[in-house]
C-alpha cells in the first residue's frame, strides 16, 4: 500500500505535466488542418522549404536529392517532400556520385551542408566533383537547384 501511494504521488506529477502539455498542444494546434498544423509546428521551416520546393518540381515522379550535413534538417525536409520521390541518406554521403544524376533532377540543399552552390559558375560543388545546375530559389533554410 505504501508503494502504491508513493507511485500515485509520483504519477500525480506526471499526470499534471501531461495535462499542461495537452493544454499547450491544444493552444498550438486545435482547430487546424494538417497543413496548418505542420506550418505551425516545430519543423515549420523545413515544412515551408519542402512546400516551396514542391511548387517548383515538375510532377511527382521527379527525383529530388536532398543534401544536408545535419541529419535532422535533411531528414525532416525529405519527409515533407513525400509523396514526391526524395533521396536522402541519414548518416550517409550528402549526394550520390554525379554519374547517378541526370538532367532535370532536383537538388535541394538544406543548410548546413557541405555541398555548395557556386552561383557565378552555375555549378554545385559536391564531394565527388561539380555538376552544372540552374538555381530555382534560395532562402535562409535552403536552395533548390535543377541539374542541367
Amino acid at each position: 500500500m505504501i508503494f502504491l501511494i508513493c507511485w500515485l504521488l509520483l504519477d500525480g506529477f506526471w499526470q499534471y505535466r501531461l495535462l499542461r502539455q495537452v493544454a499547450d498542444t491544444h493552444r498550438q494546434f486545435a482547430g487546424k488542418e494538417t497543413t496548418e498544423k505542420l506550418a505551425a509546428g516545430p519543423d515549420s521551416r523545413f515544412y515551408h522549404l519542402a512546400q516551396r520546393a514542391q511548387q517548383h518540381v515538375d510532377g511527382e515522379k521527379s527525383r529530388v536529392f536532398v543534401s544536408s550535413s545535419d541529419d535532422y534538417h535533411g531528414l525532416r525536409t525529405a519527409y515533407y517532400l513525400y509523396p514526391h520521390n526524395p533521396y536522402y541518406r541519414v548518416r550517409g554521403d550528402e549526394l550520390p556520385h554525379p554519374e547517378h544524376l541526370r538532367t532535370g533532377d532536383y537538388i535541394l540543399i538544406v543548410h548546413p551542408a557541405r555541398t555548395q552552390f557556386r552561383r557565378q559558375l552555375g555549378i554545385v560543388q559536391t564531394q565527388w566533383g561539380h555538376v552544372p545546375v540552374d538555381s530555382l530559389f534560395s532562402e535562409d533554410s535552403g536552395t533548390l537547384l535543377r541539374v542541367k
Binding site: 501531461l18 502539455q21 495537452v22 513525400y82 509523396p83 541526370r102
Partner: protein, 427 residues
C-alpha cells in the same frame, strides 16, 4: 462526418479482433471481458493491415470500403460461429467462486480505473491534436504510409543503392525500406477512412494499443488468480509508466505494438504452462507470430519465447540441461555463422560480440535514474530476489516465465552491452 468515419476506422478492427478472440476464450474465464476486448483490440488493430495487404495481393487498390466490408464479413462470420454454439458451452475449469470485494477495496479499484481512463483521455487528446513528430516515424514508417496512401498501392521501397541503379523508376527509398508494412498500413487505413492525409488522427490506434494492452494484462492477471485489486494496481503501474505513455503521446513508432504483442504472447504462454489450457497456447502462438509482422526485430523477440515453451513440460534438472545446451548453441551460432548472413534485416556483422562499457551507465540510468518507469526499477530490486526465493519459483509453475524473461532480458543486455547497438550514435 470525418469524426464518424474515424470512429468507424477505430472500432471496426476492435470488433473484428474481439469477435475472433471471443471464440477462443471459455465462458467461465475470470475477467473474460477484459481478456476478450484487450486481446481482441490488439489482434484487430494488427490484423487489419494484414487484411489490407491480402486484398491488395488480389489486385485491388488500397481501399477503405473494400477492407471495411471484408472486416465486417469476417466479424459476422465469427459472430455466426459463436451463435451456432461453438465454444459457448466450453468451460475453463478455472472459474473461482465470485467473491465480492469489500467496499474500501472496491473504492480503490474504481479510483485506479478512473486514473487509467484519465490517462487514456489525456493521451488520446494529445494524439488527436499533435501532428506526427517522432524521429523514426518520419525516417521509415510514415514515409511509406504517405506514399501508399497517395498511390492507393503498395509501391515498393528499396535500399538507396537499388534506387540509384533503377533511377528511382517506380520505386521509393527511405532509411529502412525492408521494414514490414503493418504500421504504415495502419496509418493508411486511418487516412483512407476520411480520404484525407491527417497526421494526427492516423495515430489514434496507438491509444487503442495501450488500452488493449492494459485490458489484456488485467485479464491475464485475473486468470492467474491474482486478486482484482492487486491486478488493477499492477495494470495501473503498467499503464502509467512514462516511457510507455510517451510512445503513445508521440505516436508513430512501432515499438509499443511489438511490446504489446510480445507481452500478450508471454502472458498467454505463462497461463498456458500453468493451466495447460489449449486456447492460451493458441493465443500465445498468435501474438508471437504477429511480432515479426510489426518489426523485423520482432522475430528475435518471438524466438526468445521458444526456450520457455521447450522446457514447459520438463523436470527442473532436465530443463537446466536443455537451456545450457541452447545457450551454448546460441554462442556457437554467433561465432560460426558467416558475417554477411542477414537475419531479420540485420547482418551477423552487427552482432559480433565486443563489450561496450559506456552502455552500462546508460542502462543503469534508464532504469533507476531517469523518469522512464516511475518506481518500477526499484520495484524490480525488491521483486527479483523475492521472486527467486519464493517457494516454487524455479519449479514447473514459474519455470517457463522465468526462462522467457531471462532469455528476453539476456538478449536485450547482450544487444546493448556487447554489440555496436550500445555505441553512442550521432542521433
Amino acid at each position: 462526418m470525418d469524426a464518424v468515419l474515424t470512429l468507424v476506422a477505430i472500432l471496426l478492427p476492435v470488433l473484428l479482433g474481439s469477435a475472433w478472440i471471443n471464440l477462443l476464450v471459455p465462458a467461465d474465464t475470470p475477467a473474460r471481458g477484459a481478456l476478450v476486448w484487450g486481446n481482441g483490440a490488439l489482434f484487430g488493430v494488427m490484423v487489419t493491415p494484414l487484411l489490407m495487404r491480402a486484398l491488395h495481393a488480389t489486385g485491388l487498390p488500397l481501399d477503405f470500403m473494400a477492407t471495411a466490408l471484408a472486416a465486417v464479413a469476417l466479424t459476422a462470420m465469427a459472430a455466426l460461429i459463436h451463435l451456432r454454439g461453438h465454444g459457448r458451452g466450453r468451460t475453463s475449469g478455472q472459474a473461482a467462486p465470485a467473491r465480492a470485494m469489500p467496499t474500501a477495496q472496491r473504492v480503490l479499484w474504481t479510483i485506479l480505473l478512473g486514473l487509467i481512463v484519465l490517462r487514456l483521455i489525456t493521451l488520446g487528446t494529445e494524439v488527436a491534436l499533435r501532428p506526427l513528430f517522432p524521429w523514426d516515424a518520419t525516417m521509415h514508417w510514415a514515409t511509406k504510409a504517405r506514399v501508399w496512401f497517395e498511390h492507393r498501392s503498395l509501391v515498393p521501397f528499396v535500399p538507396h543503392d537499388i534506387w540509384l541503379q533503377v533511377g528511382g523508376e517506380g520505386v521509393y527509398t527511405d532509411r529502412h525500406p525492408n521494414y514490414p508494412s503493418m504500421i504504415p498500413l495502419l496509418q493508411v487505413w486511418m487516412n483512407l477512412a476520411t480520404g484525407n492525409w491527417n497526421e494526427s488522427l492516423m495515430n489514434l490506434p496507438w491509444v487503442v494499443c495501450l488500452a488493449g494492452l492494459g485490458a489484456a494484462f488485467y485479464g491475464h492477471l485475473r486468470v492467474a488468480r491474482v486478486e482484482a485489486l492487486t491486478a488493477a494496481a499492477f495494470t495501473y503501474f503498467l499503464m502509467s509508466m512514462p516511457l510507455i505513455n510517451i510512445h503513445v503521446a508521440l505516436a508513430g513508432y512501432a515499438d509499443i505494438y511489438l511490446a504489446a504483442a510480445f507481452c500478450c504472447a508471454l502472458m498467454a504462454l505463462h497461463n498456458w504452462m500453468t493451466l495447460r489450457a489449449g486456447w492460451m497456447a493458441a493465443l500465445a502462438l498468435l501474438f508471437a507470430a504477429l511480432c515479426p509482422q510489426i518489426k523485423n526485430e520482432g522475430l528475435f523477440w518471438a524466438l526468445s519465447l521458444a526456450p520457455a515453451a521447450l522446457v514447459a513440460f520438463m523436470q527442473r534438472r532436465q530443463a537446466a540441461k536443455v537451456l545450457l545446451l541452447l545457450g551454448l548453441l546460441a554462442i556457437l551460432l554467433l561465432l560460426l555463422l558467416p558475417r554477411h548472413l542477414v537475419i531479420a534485416g540485420h547482418s551477423m556483422e552487427e552482432l559480433v560480440p565486443a563489450f561496450q562499457p559506456e552502455a552500462l551507465a546508460g542502462l543503469v540510468k534508464i532504469a533507476w535514474l531517469h523518469a522512464n518507469w516511475h518506481l518500477f526499477g526499484y520495484m524490480l530490486l525488491i521483486l527479483l530476489p523475492l521472486g527467486l526465493l519464493m517457494p516454487g519459483a524455479l519449479t514447473r509453475k514459474y519455470l517457463g516465465l522465468t526462462t522467457a524473461l531471462t532469455t528476453a532480458i539476456g538478449a536485450f543486455l547482450f544487444l546493448f552491452l556487447f554489440t555496436g547497438f550500445g555505441r553512442r550514435r550521432p542521433i
